[in-house]
Amino acid sequence: MSALARSVRSVFSFYLFIVRRARRTKIFALVSFLPALAALVIRVNAWLSPGAAVDGPAVFSNIILTFNLQFLILVLALFYGTSILAEELEGKTLTYLTTRAVPKAAIILGKYAAYVSFLIVMVAAGVTLAFVILFADRLGDAQAWLVLARSAAVLALGLLTYTAFFTLAGVLLKKSILFGLMFSFGWENIVPYFPGATQRFAIMHYLKSLLPPISTGGEGNFAFLMFKLEPSTPAAAIVTLAVVTAAALGLACWAFARKEYLFEE
């Protein structure tokens, strides 16, 4: 194992330990389990209302697209990605990292890896619980489990890419949260609905291109959300997301190694 890889691993271990105890983690964990709670409410409502049927797959698809993909992973990636550097500056703890025998790139990569791993597990747990509740009558169906696996994989890719992107923003910008909010809920939620090639300028486009075929239950409510999607091929989507992730992390490491950071007095 190279010296950089060893340092990344030690930083990863350090922050995986810390992130589990952080107060905000508890809040975001609760938010991540909201889909499961919503699924439970829908299920209970169906049991209490004779004749009301629940289209589990349709509800699940809606939750994945509108809540997890277009809201939750953006918020998580924004807050955790930008905080990779910002929390060290605000807490004035950066000194403990930059005066260790740890390459600066390892600080960024190790902390990024720790946060993303934790977020993926947290989001996957919420999604899986929602899936079990909504697919309670179809748990023996292998196709249903494939839908879960693919949905979770898309969310994981989203977290990897967006967190990398916001890590870069955090390294380069002072007001990275403001920029991130505008990017997430402006650009990323509008551009994918543009027709033609324009939508390919949004990361969200490639994530939506990878989602499993949507079960809308006929003319479902969320069909309009996909109305103008002209999906890229899975291979193109994965390559694009990988390139964005690698480029963002590479630039973040490069910039972090060259910039000086001063604490606000």
């Binding site: 030690s10 930083v11 350090f14 810390i18 952080a22 004035k92 930059t98």
Partner: protein, 308 residues
């Protein structure tokens, strides 16, 4: 002296603001005190020496190598930052152990080293307490524990005595002396002269980013002694005391303080003045409540030296 740390025409600007200007010095094993009022450039110098900042001009070398982005050198340096900042989710023991983990020590090795460092600063019994429950003195000692835990050859301590009660100060001064006796190269910054005097005789005076004076304590004291000192005496009959000292050549000026029982003497010869004062007190049976020196702080020393 074998120079462990060498600064050559070192300068640093923060935009248009000067942090350090044309500083050249060599530091070898033992304790070197870095003295200066707030904003003198002490922290800037320490950040440059620990590779947190890049010089605007000049060079800073540790063991003959430039420190900026020289990751390997950091294993040989321990830095105790000025700011009271920690990962409050951790306990004291976890803080030191996990930081050692960052240095690449195995879990077992890190735990053994953390235990040794925590015992050294007398915090081992508190190792399982969350950091947010630590007192200021404990947190300061914990910073020293993380500084020494990986057994570095150079220790850079930025205001390690700041804000501590006298008992904690004594403990930390003893710890730093023990580290000096163990052969470490130590730089300690402070803006309080007596604190540095308690640690070392070798000091560097910084003012407005420049070296104002450099040498041992007697040399600096000589510089200071060339300038008048103020000595305030609080007693039952200040006028009688003042009349007894009025004609003495060592007394330059006498001023009665805002409090009725206080008189302030200005002298250029402290030793002669204190000899006279003691004799007068004994001979006249003066009831003295307090003798203080308003100048016995570093700002006054700097004011003297820069002629303000």
């Amino acid at each position: 002296m074998t120079a462990v740390i060498r600064a050559d025409k070192l300068s640093k600007w923060y935009g248009n603001v000067l942090g350090l200007s044309d500083v050249s010095l060599e530091i070898g094993p033992g304790i070197t005190g870095l003295l200066g009022p707030n904003g003198a450039g002490k922290s800037t110098f320490m950040k440059l020496v620990t590779g947190q900042l890049k010089p605007s001009l000049g060079r800073v070398e540790i063991f003959g190598r430039p420190i900026w982005n020289a990751t390997g050198l950091f294993a040989r340096i321990g830095f105790c930052p000025e700011q009271d900042a920690f990962y409050d989710e951790l306990t004291g023991g976890e803080f030191v152990t996990r930081l050692l983990g960052l240095q690449g020590f195995s879990r077992t090795e890190a735990m053994a080293r953390a235990e040794k460092a925590l015992r050294f600063v007398e915090l081992f019994a508190e190792k399982d307490r969350l950091l947010r429950g630590y007192s200021r003195g404990m947190r300061q000692r914990l910073k020293i524990a993380q500084t020494i835990a990986h057994d570095p050859e150079i220790l850079i301590l930025d205001e390690p005595l700041n804000g501590l009660d006298p008992l904690s100060k004594r403990k930390i001064i003893r710890l730093i002396r023990d580290l000096r006796d163990a052969g470490r190269t130590i730089i300690v910054s402070s803006h309080v002269l007596p604190e540095i005097e308690a640690l070392t005789r070798s000091i560097v005076l910084l003012h407005q980013g420049k070296i104002l004076a450099q040498g041992d304590i007697p040399y600096i004291r000589d510089l200071i002694d060339k300038h008048p000192h103020k000595i305030s005496v609080k007693c039952a009959d200040p006028r009688a005391l003042a009349s007894g000292l009025l004609e003495q050549p060592s007394v330059r000026a006498i001023q009665f303080g805002p409090e009725a029982e206080t008189v302030v003497f200005e002298t250029q010869d402290r030793d002669a003045f204190f000899g006279l004062l003691t004799r007068l007190i004994v001979e006249n049976g003066q009831d003295i409540e307090e003798i203080t020196s308003p100048d016995d702080n570093l700002q006054a020393v700097f004011d003297y030296l820069v002629g303000t």
